[in-house]
Symmetry: C2
Subunit: 291 residues, 2 copies
């Protein structure tokens, strides 16, 4: 059976087809330009696979995910030029008379990690996935469903206790300044140090500051949702850095709650190279077909 | 049909019996002393009602709510003297061969507000209930189920961006100092001003500081869970104070997400006099019977 996956990012689109074992059969990627051009390329790609049975789209946002909303399937108020108020799902439905799932990029990734965890015999019913990349966002799956009634989560924009050595940094979120995204998104390295994050050694104190904030995000999620695990993806994350986050998380929790082994609780994605959303899309497309 | 409700608080127990229309038929309250004495009084009270069909307990915590855990039904590691490691549910099961629901005080309240909202024809599928009282906690219902796989939420212990006029206050949480509970629980009034909260006029700037923090809690919940509404109970809350919280919430959100009319989104309980948990218990007991 052939299933389609669209990972729609702000800088690039990844389209893939795969099977119900979540194996990729074919994959293509192209830069995110205008909606017309980019969605046309997406349509053209899937047209090559007439056996396609269902598609799932994991998109950058904010997007409208409430099925009964007039703008269901739209990208709504994005700061990204040209992409506000774009009927993404509608464009695909024009050309494909198939079940099409519509969710956020991080929800797609959360779902991918959730199904992979279950495949790997972890007995979990809930999971939160954070991306710490160009932006910061998260999605949560509980009992196979995404969390969010009024819309999708936007955990990137919470406020945090500021690190004492970081009080002079105003943060870079255009809406909030020093929200989580404004303090730990990839481009904060340039803003704080003038250097790209990839070139800043882990021994630099800026990484401790980053870890302090990301640990607070993990703490919030733990205290609000009590998921079975929290997965961290995105360009900023690495296993050695995540160890710093775990240490700060332990300090912040201060013995209040037991979440088990922190190495298992706060983890890098099971799917490598930020491929969680593709797996999630295949699983979501497959489920949609069987509902 | 007769249903039993136990609201087990750190200072007092409220036991009640009522019907499937959530109407109280009889009610009693007594101070929380030793577990032996207090649970015996609870048992003695319900023994007077042989027609009782089911009981629901909404307890202070932390408690073990994972049904497959060895200590399911226990109060676990509470700082409250004598009450750590107490088999609350087991004690009631000794005397009552009935379905007994076991959850947290705030989950009980969340459920009560959830069923009342639905009764009042609000079309909601999710709700978070905060208590701002002697302590701070919250519970969330989504599609009729409580959120929390590893245990119940403990939203009182998140960290927050400190108010610039409050930087010298260390907070009163014995675990974390300036977590949400450490900054806004009722006894913080005594700690900050030397006066009881009830005697501090709303024009005092301390209320603005309180509103700033509670608005951040509402923001976190909004961004993490996107519930249909957030309800605030507990001795510290009042409608005029909640208006201050709404104003700060609007500022913090800064137009990023639309949650509709803030008066409907951030609200006082529908059930008056902190009675939400009793209604929730009746509803939970009734559901348990019909499952
Ligand atoms: N090793 C690294 N350390 C810190 N930041 C990094 C590293 N590698 C990439 N980044 C940053 O991560 C961001 C890109 O995140 P990524 O998840 O790859 O893409 P996107 O979020 O755009 O989908 C950029 O801001 C980049 O500078
Ligand atoms: N009007 C008020 N303004 C501020 N704080 C108040 C007010 N009334 C009561 N409180 C405080 O609320 C706390 C009690 O909260 P409550 O919800 O009634 O009980 P509990 O949390 O113990 O079940 C106490 O710290 C009390 O001082
Ligand atoms: Zn922001
Ligand atoms: Zn605390």
């Amino acid at each position: 059976m052939l299933l389609g996956s669209v990972e729609a990012g702000g800088t690039k689109f990844v389209c893939a087809v795969g099977n119900e074992d979540y194996q990729i059969q074919d994959k293509v990627q192209f830069p995110t330009t205008t909606p017309e051009e980019t969605l046309q390329k997406t349509v053209d790609y899937f047209k090559k696979f007439p056996e396609l049975k269902a598609i799932s789209i994991a998109s950058f946002g904010p997007i409208e995910i409430r099925k009964n909303a007039p703008k269901y399937g739209f990208i709504t108020d994005t700061p990204k030029p040209h992409w506000s108020n774009v009927d993404f799902l509608g464009r695909l439905k024009q050309d494909f008379d198939l079940p099409i799932v519509w969710t956020t990029d991080v929800n797609g990734s959360a779902y991918g990690e959730y199904v992979m965890s279950v495949l790997f015999n972890e007995r979990i019913n809930s999971l939160t996935y954070y991306t710490i990349g160009t932006g910061v966002g998260a999605g949560t799956v509980i009992d196979g469903n995404f969390v969010g009634e009024l819309g999708h989560p936007e955990m990137g924009h919470v406020r945090l206790k500021r690190h004492p050595d970081d009080l002079n940094f105003d943060g870079i979120c255009p809406y909030h300044g020093d929200c989580l995204e404004g303090l730990v998104a990839g481009p904060t390295f340039e803003a704080r140090t003038g250097k790209k994050g990839a070139t800043v050694p882990l021994s630099d104190h800026v990484w401790d500051i980053m870890a302090y904030y990301i640990a607070q995000a993990a703490l919030q999620t733990t205290l609000a949702i009590r998921p079975a695990k929290i997965v961290f993806g995105g360009g900023v994350m690495s296993e050695p850095f995540l160890d710093k986050v775990r240490a700060q998380f332990r300090d912040l929790m201060n013995g209040y709650l037991d979440v088990g082994d922190l190495k298992a609780y706060l983890t890098m994605p099971l799917v490598e190279n930020n491929g969680s959303a593709t797996v999630g899309n295949f699983a979501l497309a497959f489920n949609e077909l069987n509902n």
